[in-house]
Symmetry: C2
Subunit: 449 residues, 2 copies
């Protein structure tokens, strides 16, 4: 019987590991609870109505249909029976000779899970369509609302966290308000929307070089985004967010709060800690050996956002797609080297740089030998992202939608779907009368303190 | 103050009426509970993974943003205060001088509302993504299942109703099983899927000429679809459908049953009956005067699928897009004629023919002066549908996806989204042990009679 490799998670790391094993004398099982690979770096464009979910998703079975040594299992991994070498699924189990855990990270509310209802985060397709619904409904509520204070709350958007996702969301929101929806309403002026980006660190894009943070901040301000750095969220409610900034506590009335701060490794890391004695860092990531294995368990690898690897620089590698892809490739090579009786070299990350976009023709590039921003960085961003989308058809569809958006400012995918959004329930209940539970989808009178 | 026209429903009829009033000295309010116009004839392609929801939806505000005499109200109309000339919304009210009701139809289970949970119908974007989820999960469940009888139930798809939607769904399902998913699985052979189309009338496409019904049936059979005509559904459960055909009662074990039979006019018809004394036909449609007004109420029009108009042929006009579009256009002309003191002619429907597609290169065309089928009818179908999609960008995106599908057999939008599909719960519980409520998303042992 050939060597059984079980890979958990069909993101960048797990999918690359699977594909890199295509000529190896192994049986690969790729386990994922979703039936598609998601191109997460463009998820914010689904949340802001620029792309459709399917444009950034590639069905895993379709991607792997020609790889005869691979099969896809739609299942949720919940635990690991390390001594018996079995992955425990929510509805079964599967034996492995080598296990690769690539289940990534999920959003994290820093101990305030109750904030999630009011400030959704962006990790899944469902998150993206829910955020899209909230953004579009906020403008609809503003159009129906008569009280100026409540109109303002409907047209205030707060994004918590100014990493790449937060910066991209803020830039896209500004473009929606200033360009896409400019002529869509009759009672309100969408260009009056206030977009506030709140970051705990002293600068936006804190993992980038300071001069690029400064460029990004300037681009955001040019787009009309208000940027607060050194600002921490103290509480979030259905129609407000309280932020401590410069020693003061500011309460901002806002119907729409989006969470782009804080991620935590997937729960399978904790399963590895229990079952294999793995050590986790504070973010729940598995601290791995130089060959990405769990200490004491050369048959178990942890890669991607779930993995804490710091043998190269002393700092853990960032949770970005290139790290996951290179680690997936490396693990496949280690598995093949071992089968040939060879000893592989330790993993080395080749940092090709970082890119973040802010909006139309605005981006920053932090490459090994140069740093630049503006239109050239934006073109590079477009090019790199198009190239990395998994399916050819989706590359074409994304390119067309970007071109259309660039020339017409239109965002065609601005649908309000999902939970019935109506009634909007605007301006009927006074704060005193209304004792119903706070629903984030409604536009209600701001609560008095 | 200018004449206030309130139009309820942004489908084909309501949107056309709004647009045809763009130069009229009126104030138009278009009320819809959704923020987009839906190109319903292509909804089955969303349900079968060929297109994304946004490709067939056009945001109403975007479509009307340049029409200065029109505004869009995202609201649900629930009743009409006829004496006061007010439309009652679920969260407010709005006064009108002329009211146009164009709220269409919804699916209808012929008195068996309990079937809806097991046999979803296709009217909304949410219906389409739910049907897509069920179709794709059925193949996933079959791949996980070990009991041959249950594999067969997972791979059996029953479509109830062989009007255009049922025929299109059956054809697309056959292509998914035979082409798109052909190489996607390792345990099952998707080409072994059984697709059964059940129709109560004696032929498929019963509103088309008999010779085209025969062509359509032949095309379906060529695609591997089993066609039962003169067959009526007696009951539907979580994993079966019971059909009376040729005097026998057949119980078919099937995990996926789709409902494409029976529509009923929107509830606003009943509101018109209560408030304005309108007469309704058996399908709940409002029986209108020759000028599409409600008898006794020249200020209230009913158009589209909600309207029963038979002054031309003695038979009510069919519930198709061209009827609704022509009626929307006519109503706009009547409103303008009245403002100029003229008396308009009665409505006349210009029947340009009917088209239905069965699958790749297969369609039937019933035009006034000719009837044909096969590849030419299919090309005409493609052309007409592309031309009628509201936004240019969507025309391009749909054309590209059709071309891609034609040459590669791929359907890129085959995502399982929405309610968490897992655990699949396959083959664990025996029928005797399992007392949990029957969930349509699970693959469970067929119940014993």
């Amino acid at each position: 019987m050939s060597h059984r490799v079980v890979i958990v998670g069909g993101g960048f790391g797990g999918l690359r590991a699977t594909q890199a094993l295509r000529h190896a004398p192994v049986e690969v099982t790729l386990v994922d609870k979703r039936n598609f690979h998601l191109f997460q770096p463009l998820l914010y464009q689904v949340a802001t109505g620029g792309l459709s979910p399917a444009n950034i998703a590639a069905p895993l079975r379709g991607v792997l249909k020609k790889q005869k040594n691979a099969r896809v299992l739609l299942a949720e991994a919940v635990d690991i029976d390390v001594p018996a070498r079995r992955l425990i699924l929510s509805d079964g189990q599967i034996e492995y000779d080598t296990l690769v855990i690539a289940t990534g990270a999920q959003h994290h509310y820093l101990g305030h899970d109750d904030w999630e209802a009011f400030a959704p985060a962006l990790k899944t397709i469902e998150d993206a369509t829910e955020i899209r619904r909230r953004i579009l409904l906020a403008f609809e509520m503003a159009e129906r609302e008569s009280h100026p204070k409540q109109v303002k709350a409907c047209l205030t958007f707060v994004i918590v966290g100014a990493g790449p996702t937060g910066v991209e969301l803020a830039g896209a929101l500004s473009e929606i308000a200033r360009d896409t929806l400019r002529h869509d309403f009759r009672q309100i002026d969408p260009t009056q929307a206030r977009i506030l980006l709140v970051e705990g660190a002293e600068r936006v894009l804190p993992t980038y070089p300071p001069e690029l943070s400064e460029k990004a901040r300037a681009s955001l301000i040019r787009l009309g985004v208000t940027v607060w750095t050194g600002a921490t969220v103290e509480s979030v409610g259905p129609d407000y967010v309280a932020v401590r900034v410069g020693g003061r506590l500011e309460k901002i009335l806002a119907r729409t709060v989006l969470w782009a701060a804080g991620v935590q490794a997937s729960p399978l890391g904790r399963a590895l800690a229990r079952a294999a004695g793995a050590k986790l860092d504070r973010a729940g990531r598995v601290i791995v050996e130089p060959d990405l294995t769990v200490p004491g368990h050369p048959e178990i690898f942890a890669i991607g956002d779930l993995c804490h690897f710091r043998h190269q620089t002393g700092q853990p590698l960032p949770g970005v797609a290139p790290v996951a892809i290179q680690q997936g490739q490396y693990v496949a090579e280690v598995i093949q080297a071992r089968l040939q009786g060879k000893t592989p070299l330790p993993f080395r990350y080749h940092d090709k740089g970082n890119l973040a976009t802010i909006g139309r023709a605005a981006a920053v590039a932090d490459l090994p030998h140069c740093k630049f921003s503006g239109f050239p960085a934006w073109l590079l961003w477009l090019f790199i992202h198009l190239l990395n989308i998994v399916e050819y058809q989706n590359r074409l569809l994304v390119a067309i939608q970007w071109a259309w958006n660039y020339f017409t400012f239109n965002r065609a995918a601005r649908l309000i779907t999902g939970k019935t959004p109506l009634p909007l329930d605007v301006g009927h209940a006074s704060p005193e009368e209304d004792a119903s539970p706070a629903l984030a989808g409604e536009c209600r009178s701001p609560k008095k303190n």
